[in-house]
């Protein structure tokens, strides 16, 4: 309150100022005057009665005594004073009404956006999983794998391993690496677990066994449950993961497992010295048994510098200040020095080494060995695919909401007239968008789960299990905000720009201008360009895959089943030939042959040379081992000469046409009788030439091939089932399995139909094709949502016009044409723009195939017709509905 006006004598005592201040602060304004007046009057009275000092005390007591709810409580105003909360509630209410009023558009928007968001979410799950690989290692940015690259026979290839002696050289002579860890994979057919009281337990083909040293555990994230890494410095020690420990010793605690014994290779008896946690799902370090390297008694000889095996890998951890490139140079210099001693003969062979960062381990297929690698290109491709689909959904939102702006013009104009700022209107609109996006996000989560159950096999194993909540939450938030701003900015700006006067007078067409229409049109065109490209992609990929799977490969493959005999049996070829005769006796088996299947995903090659009149011709040939029945079995025709004769070792060659051409023979028969010399090997005559057949997938050209007979190399049993009786195949295969057991009691009869195996060549392409099919379906769906919504809005906005037209004699057909025409024009423009883009993309994709279909114009025409039909179907529904409307009704509604 105001200071006191001068009253009475100037030296009149005044109440304590502080108490007065306090009073003024807490008392409700409407009570303050009278209350303070009473207090002051009382004070003046008390000064006269008990003196100033005590009056002041009393004053304080009185003031404090007034601290009561009714005194403090402010009088509620006669007019409401809206708080932020009230306004937000109001906005929310308006928004919900708006969304409900235009529920069809809302539904289309939410559905479209949720599909787009779900696509993004699935790709996010996949990408976050793949990129998380090997990131949980301590100091993972300083860890490198030493890998090898070599050029052999003109082909450059990578190998994740290094020569064994390199480990010691790195340790002794490579500054910069503060840790070097051998990770030598051990493979075996069988191992024996000595279970207490239960005797010996055999384990078949155990996986994940590595010989290593204690330092391994400072490289990875596994932690010790019991025991310590130091145990690995002693020979005959093994450390198991928890999983492996329970597998080998069920029902035993980690403590009890310590000291148990395992026998490797029937002779190496080792003791369990520790148990570690299982490797996480997102690591390529998938070891489960860690054998101390010293148990292996490796005494690397200098000659081993010449050998590189994928199973002998070395990891190094560099010093914090070491330069990887410098370390690499030094490493190569060292390797050169040692390799030079054993490669004096001038063999055309070069090898060098690289440091592969841990972050590349999961992505570089060149050094994949057995571990699964992910392709960064594929991931980026999927990301852009998801981005495109989300963009389609966002375009829908923009288009539909912009089309709704005229309907909302009155509300916006009133808000503006009442003083709402542009900024506030935009924010309001963005919040509305955020609400829709959030709703779509919720549905997207449900859709994602559906996808995981329905298409889980398209995703790498472990994707569904991998979670990273902080990253996921921030991604979801960022995604929602980005979509909200992309979708909401333009309509928001449009709203902010709206002239209130025009809005209130309903002169909207003028108010919004024609730029909106052009933008909407270009957005639709853009949408259909994407859909059209996808459609062409789907068609072409399907064509090519059908071609690759259905095209004759130069040999018969119907009803062929392949089974591999165990490789440890390679010396005992007699057993295989007895097996062959035994199987031949089964009634359901039409033919049988031993030898490498004609087309395989592995290959085996060497260089042969021919000394002709014009000089020496050297050709790298694919080598396939066959028996005498092979050509007949696969129906590969001989063009000249004869089949191979039975033989234990190589005595003669049969080559294919491509090989004959490569050696320079004009006619197949010219090659017969000519002598070929194998690189560093013997010379034998060509006895026959066969017609070309595909020895690899259609990605590769037919390569020059040599067929030869060596009994010991015939490892695959090719079985042709009686072609006319598919019903008995299963029975025959069971009989074959029984026979197999007589020969290999410990080996399962693992067979595969050759057709299925050939289809595996195109696994990548099939996965790509499935992804593109899905993307096509989704993009068409979303684009149609948008078209449908727009068609509906436009036909309602043009209700009157249609009514007038009908009265003036327009037919239903002409009105449908009128309404559909605009959209069709846009789709046609999109088809014209999309075709070259799709052509270029598919042309690139087909470059991966040596044998491919031609891209023909009818594919684009078909795709165009498809898009047009879909458009017509979508638009017509609304157009016909509008055209059939009774003009009396549409014109009366005023």
């Amino acid at each position: 309150m105001n200071p006191k006006p001068p009253a009475g004598s100037p030296d009149r005592p005044t109440p304590p100022r502080l108490a007065d201040r306090l009073l003024e602060w807490f008392v409700a304004p409407h009570r303050l005057e009278t209350l303070q007046g009473d207090l002051h009057e009382e004070f003046a009275y008390q000064v006269g009665r008990v003196g100033e000092q005590r009056a002041r005390w009393r004053y304080w007591r009185e003031v404090l005594g007034f601290i009561r709810p009714y005194v403090i409580k402010r009088k509620s105003s006669e007019y409401p004073t809206p708080t932020n909360f009230d306004m937000i509630r109001n906005y929310l209410k308006i928004t919900l009404r708006q969304l409900w009023y235009n529920r069809m558009v809302t539904l289309l928007n939410v559905l479209g956006l949720s599909i787009g968001l779900a696509t993004c979410w699935v790709v996010y799950r996949m990408a976050s999983f793949e990129f998380s690989f090997n990131t949980n290692h301590p100091a993972h940015d300083r860890i490198y794998r030493v890998v090898s690259r070599s050029i052999f026979d003109g082909k450059e290839s990578g190998n994740p391993g290094v020569p064994i002696p390199m480990l010691n050289v790195i340790r002794a002579q490579l500054p910069g690496a503060d840790l070097s860890v051998p990770v030598f994979e051990q493979r075996m057919q069988n191992l024996q677990v000595l279970r207490p009281k239960k005797g010996i337990q055999n384990v078949k083909k155990p996986k994940g066994i590595f010989a290593t040293e204690p330092d391994y555990f400072s490289l990875v994230s596994n932690t010790f449950l019991i025991g310590s890494a130091a145990a690995l410095s002693q020979p005959y020690q093994v450390i198991l993961t928890q999983n492996r420990a329970t597998q080998y010793f069920p029902g035993m605690s980690s403590k009890e497992v310590i000291g148990q014994e395992i026998i490797y290779w029937d002779t190496l008896r080792v003791r369990v010295a520790g148990v570690v946690t299982d490797p996480p799902i997102n690591t390529d370090f998938v070891g489960h048994e860690f054998l101390s390297l010293s148990s292996m008694r490796l005494t690397p000889d200098v000659s081993e510098w010449g050998e590189v095996s994928a199973t002998t890998q070395v990891f190094v951890r560099l010093n914090a200040n070491a330069q990887p490139s410098a370390v690499e140079r030094r490493l190569n210099a060292l390797a050169q020095k040692y390799t030079a001693t054993i490669h004096k003969e001038g063999v055309p062979f070069t090898r060098w080494h690289l440091l592969q960062p841990l972050s590349d381990l999961h992505f570089d297929a060149d050094y994949a060995n057995d571990s699964r690698t992910a392709s960064k290109e594929l991931l980026y491709g999927l990301m852009s695919l998801a981005g495109f689909i989300l963009l389609l959904a966002t375009i829908n939102y923009v288009n539909l909401v912009t089309a709704l702006v005229p309907q909302r013009a009155r509300e916006i104009s009133i808000r503006k007239t009442l003083g709402s700022s542009r900024w506030l209107l935009v924010v309001h609109f963005l919040c509305e968008t955020l609400l829709v996006v959030s709703l779509a996000m919720l549905i997207a989560f449900a859709l994602t789960n559906l996808f995981f159950t329905g298409f889980g096999d398209l995703l790498p194993a472990g994707t569904a299990e991998y979670t990273n909540p902080p990253l996921a939450i921030s991604f979801a938030i960022v995604l929602s905000l980005v979509v909200t701003s992309l979708a909401g900015i333009y309509p928001g700006w449009l709203i902010a720009r709206l002239q209130p006067l025009a809005g209130l007078q309903k002169r909207l067409g003028i108010g919004l201008g024609s730029s909106t229409l052009t933008l909407r049109k270009s957005l639709i065109v853009f949408q259909f360009i994407i859909s059209q490209t996808f459609i062409v992609g789907t068609l072409l990929m399907g064509q090519q895959l059908r071609f690759a799977l259905g095209q004759p490969m130069g040999f018969n493959r119907e009803a062929v089943v392949l089974a591999r005999t165990p490789y440890w049996d390679y010396k005992d070829e007699g057993r295989r030939f007895v097996l062959k005769t035994e199987l031949q006796k089964l009634p359901g088996i039409a033919a049988i042959s031993l030898g490498d299947a004609p087309a395989t995903d592995y290959f085996n090659n060497n260089v042969w040379s021919y000394q002709g009149k014009k000089g020496k011709v050297s050709v790298s040939l694919y080598r396939k081992f066959i028996d005498t029945d092979y050509l007949k079995f696969y129906g590969i025709p001989l063009l000249a000469g004869r089949n191979v004769l039975p033989s234990d070792t190589i005595r003669e060659y049969v080559i294919n046409e491509a090989a004959a051409k490569a050696f320079g023979f004009k006619q197949p028969k010219d090659a017969v009788g000519k002598i070929l010399t194998e690189e560093e090997g013997a010379s034998f005559p060509v006895v026959g030439v066969v017609k070309d057949f595909h020895s690899q997938s259609f990605h590769e050209k037919i390569s020059p091939t040599v067929l030869l007979m060596t009994k010991s190399n015939l490892l695959t049993v090719n079985i042709k089932l009686a072609f006319d009786k598919p019903a008995y195949w299963q029975q025959t295969l069971e009989q074959a399995a029984t026979k197999w057991k007589e020969f290999y009691p410990d080996e399962p009869f693992e067979y595969r139909f050759y057709d299925a195996q050939l289809a595996d060549f195109y696994q990548n392409e099939m996965a790509q094709s499935r992804i593109i099919n899905l993307a096509t379906a989704v993009s068409i769906l979303i684009s149609c949502f948008g078209l449908f919504g727009l068609a509906t809005l436009i036909s309602t906005q043009r209700t009157k016009e249609i009514g007038v037209r009908k009265i003036l004699g327009a037919s239903v057909a002409s009105i449908v044409a009128l309404l559909s025409k605009d959209f069709l024009k846009l789709v046609l423009v999109a088809i014209i723009i999309a075709s070259p883009i799709a052509w270029y993309g598919m042309h690139q994709w087909l470059q991966g195939f040596a044998y491919k279909i031609d891209i023909e114009w009818w594919m684009f025409a078909l795709a165009g017709v498809l898009a047009t039909v879909v458009t017509i179907l979508t638009v017509c529904f609304q157009a016909i509905k509008a055209a059939l409307m009774n003009p009396v009704k549409s014109l009366r509604n005023e």
Partner: protein, 112 residues
Amino acid sequence: MKRTYLGEFEEIVLLMVAGMDGEAYGVGITHKLNEETDRSVRLNQVHAALHRLQEKGMVASRLGDPTPERGGRRKLLFTVTAYGYRTLQEIKAVRAQLWSTVPITPKLATSL
């Protein structure tokens, strides 16, 4: 019929308001109470009672004139309402009724 409850202190304050005939206000009532009932009543207690009475509709308030010792602030003057007056009368009647049943020389408890 719902009877409004009046506390003893409220009743006295209401009586004071009625007795001061439209000129009752916080300080006035306090002083008069202190003089006449030999109690030591404080201003905030009186204010609270007046607030409750007003809530119950037994007094009405209006603004009075400012005085110098109040620093030029106006008084909040209270007048008893018809409802308040009737309540007072009812209480008085009940008391009188009860008094009429008390014998002239009632038996008094002898021990403490």
